[in-house]
Structure formats: structure tokens, C-alpha cells
Amino acid sequence: MALRTLITKNPLRAAAPLASRGLQTFSLPDLPYDYGELEPAISAEIMQLHHQKHHQAYITNYNKALEQLDAAAAKGDAPTVVKLQSAIKFNGGGHVNHSIFWKNLAPVRAGGGEPPHGSLGWAIDNNFGSFEALRQKMTAEGAAVQGSGWVWLGLDKEFKRLVVETTSNQDPLVTKGASLVPLLGIDVWEHAYYLQYKNVRPDYLKNVWKVANWKYASEIFEKENP
């Protein structure tokens, strides 16, 4: 249990240093709930594949790219360093985004789906008019993403306001603004919903709200916006 807590607390920190150089590599964080606990909004089959196959693949490829980057940087091989950037952005981004995503979801028994109260609830009303308006905006923008990407509710630390943004492929939210902190992200890659919802992404978006973890979003919000 302690080991599980260690891993879930810092999934983005090193889990296994590589040899003597001390390169930090990463490992798959555990989910804080069972695969089937988000049913019927998201099926157990999807959760398992998404976590064990997709997220794991991002981590494996990210580690590989980091090793190659390390070797190239040590040799002063600039062209290779530059060439590796897209693999790092994609796989590293995939790891970052999915690590957040698992925390953005929660079973109903753990408060999934319950709208935010407190300061985040206030901020949502101020920025978007109402929680319902935010929900509709994110749903519409998520449905409109062409191809693969994410839709985010983010906090702009600099301007002290909430924003809804979309990113393509595995670009993390920070690529849309250095001061943006992700509060809630929804994966709209087809692998996130296809087995259950097929091409009807709007249905997935409608249902994912039932397991959205606003407690976590509020925690992040309060930490970054005291």
C-alpha cells in the first residue's frame, strides 16, 4: 500500500534512475480505482486498454527517447537532439496528460460527477456564468477537435482566470500558454471512447462528466490560486 502511495504521489518524478548517469525514467502510475469503477460512463475494457497499453506505450517510448537524448546530448550531437524533440513532445506529453487524466476521473462513490463547490465553483461562475455553461463549452470544443487531442479547463496563473483550451495530439496544456495549469482534462483521442461510443464522441463527452473528479481540480486550483 505504501509503495502504491509513493508511486501515485509522484508519477511524474523518477521511479528508476538509469545506471550511473542518473537519468530519470518513468513508470506507469497506478489508478486510484479499479478499471470497472467508472462504468457505465467509461467501460472497464477501455480503462484497462487505455491504462495498460496506451499510457504504458507512451512511457516506454518516452524513456527510450530520453535515453537517446541523453546519449546524443553527451556527445554534442545537435541534429539528433533536435530530431528527438517531436518524439519527446509526443510521448512525454502523452505520459504527462494521462497521469493527470487518471486523477481527473473518479468513481461516483468517491465524488465523481459532483460539481465543484468552494473557490473553484465561484471561479467557474465568474468566468463562464455557470457550471452548466462551462460543461457545454467544454463539450462543444471537445467534439470539435479534429483528429486526436484533448480539451482542458485550465487556470491562467498570470491573469488569474479560468480558460477552456484544446490541444492536438499529446501536446500538454502548457504548450498553449506558459502560465496555464491544467485543472481538468478530457482525452478525446478515439482510443478513449471508441469501443463503447464508436464515432459518437458527443455521447462520450456527455457521459464523462458523470465521473469527473472536481475534488482534485479544486485541490489544484486552491494550491495555485491561494
Binding site: L49, K53, H54, A57, S86, F90, Q146, G147, S148, G149, S168, N169, Q170, W189, E190, H191, Y194, L195, K198, N199
Partner: protein
């Protein structure tokens, strides 16, 4: 693929065109499309629509390599959705009326800053092309001229296959992989594109293509993209269709002089 009804109170066939009825017909496509000052545009109601073209085989014909279920959803829902979206766009924006599909794609691509219509138009074309790039009993190898050209441009068929598979495996996100004949360079090449983009926008000639969006393989292969790609190469790809496209492409691209023996 495109049909149109024209209810115009200025029927060009009735005009007093000195060339007679023969000469009047081109007006329907040409002048009416380009001449925006004509009042008839506002008075007449023109509806142009694209139809959903069926694949050249039954939906279960690609089993067990691509399931009927996948065809039903991929063609019946995704492809159909793109067609309907395209028609909705065209109904609203009659500047685009009368363009052929190729022209529509190039114009709406807008040199990399695409209009909203681009996604729908290009995906309609892409999927038509994709169904025709496969056949029951597909796979194996190309023959004759196409094989020769592949060997010339890639060294060997094995090398081409490796490069094609690698391109499909290393593409990020929702992508397509194409074998194209490049007009300027006059050689075959493998090209990766993302989302709806296809080689037509760079004026190259697609010979065959593979849909690597997740919806193309998820029901059959889940996350195992590699298995899907290899199944496509081994059992689905239609080299006959590719050869026919290659033959047509050669009317536009001169691939060199024939070898004429000296003696």
C-alpha cells in the same frame, strides 16, 4: 459522384447564344460559377450534393482481416458523417458550388490555412480512395510496371514495404500514409499526412493509401496498430487498384523514355 438540380429562371439553353444549343451548355458550368454579378444567383436555388459512394465490395467481403462491424461503422457512420457535413457546408456556402472534388480540396486547403469545409471534403475523398485501395484477396505484391517503378525508387519491394510500415507506425495522432507519384520529382514516395490532409493539396498523385486514424482499426485490433498495418499490407491492399492509378498517373507524369534497343 456529384449531382445537382438547377432551378433557374434563366435557363441557358433558351438563351439567344449565337453558337446555338451546343455552345450554350458550357455556360451552365463555366459562366454561372465564376460570374458573381449575375442576378440569377440570388433568384435561382441551386442545390449541389455529394452522395456516399459504396465500397466496391460487400461490407463483409474483407473478413477476417477487416470486420464487417468496422466497415459498418467506419463507412456507414464516419464516412457518411463526412459526406453529410460536406453537404451542409455546401448548402450554406455557394461560392464552392460547381467545383470538382479535387478542386474543392485544393481551394479549401487554402495553402495550409484550411477553411472549415476542407476537413469534410478531404475526408470524403480520402475514404473513397481508401475503400478502393483495398480488395478481398488483397495483399501479395505488385507486378509489371508498378513493381519496376517501386524497385527503381525504393531498391526493392521489401524495402518499400518496410518503409511504408515504419511510416505508419511512427505517425503521431490521426494520420494517413500514402504511396504517391511526385509530379516534380517524377518518382514514387511515401508520404505521411495528419488529420484530413492528402497529397492532392501538394499536387501529387496518390497511388494507394492507408487510414491510420484509430477508428480504422480499434474495433478489430484495439491498440495493436502494428498488426493492423501488417494485415493491410499482407491481405487487404489492392495492387490492381494501385496499378490502374499508376497507369492513369503516367498520362500526367512522364516517367522517362522507353528502352529502345540499338540493334
Amino acid at each position: 459522384m456529384s449531382l445537382f438540380n438547377c432551378i433557374s429562371n434563366q435557363c441557358p439553353l433558351g438563351s439567344s447564344n449565337k453558337l446555338g444549343s451546343f455552345g450554350a451548355v458550357p455556360q451552365l458550368g463555366g459562366a454561372q460559377r465564376r460570374d458573381k454579378s449575375r442576378n440569377s444567383r440570388r433568384i435561382s436555388s441551386i442545390t449541389a450534393y455529394y452522395g456516399l459512394k459504396s465500397p466496391p465490395y460487400k461490407l463483409d467481403a474483407l473478413e477476417p482481416y477487416m470486420s464487417q462491424k468496422t466497415l459498418e461503422v467506419h463507412w456507414g457512420a464516419h464516412h457518411r458523417g463526412y459526406v453529410e457535413a460536406l453537404n451542409k457546408h455546401l448548402a450554406k456556402n455557394d461560392v464552392l458550388y460547381g467545383y470538382t472534388m479535387d478542386e474543392l480540396i485544393k481551394v479549401t486547403y487554402n495553402n495550409g490555412n484550411p477553411w472549415p469545409e476542407f476537413n469534410s471534403a478531404a475526408q470524403v475523398w480520402n475514404h473513397d480512395f481508401f475503400w478502393e485501395s483495398m480488395q478481398p484477396g488483397g495483399g501479395e505484391m505488385p507486378t509489371l510496371g508498378l513493381l519496376q517503378q517501386i524497385e527503381k525508387d525504393f531498391g526493392s519491394f521489401i524495402n518499400f514495404r518496410e518503409k511504408f510500415v515504419e511510416a505508419a507506425l511512427t505517425s503521431f495522432g490521426s494520420c494517413w500514409v500514402w504511396l504517391v507519384l511526385k509530379r516534380e520529382k517524377r518518382c514514387l514516395a511515401i508520404v505521411k499526412t495528419s488529420n484530413a490532409i492528402n497529397p492532392l493539396v501538394w499536387n501529387d498523385i496518390p497511388i494507394t493509401g492507408l487510414d491510420v486514424w484509430e477508428h480504422a482499426y480499434y474495433l478489430d485490433f484495439k491498440n495493436d496498430r502494428a498488426k493492423y498495418i501488417n494485415t493491410f499490407m499482407d491481405h487487404l491492399i489492392s495492387w490492381e487498384a494501385a496499378a490502374a492509378r499508376m497507369a492513369r498517373a503516367q498520362s500526367f507524369v512522364n516517367l522517362g523514355e522507353p528502352k529502345i534497343p540499338v540493334a
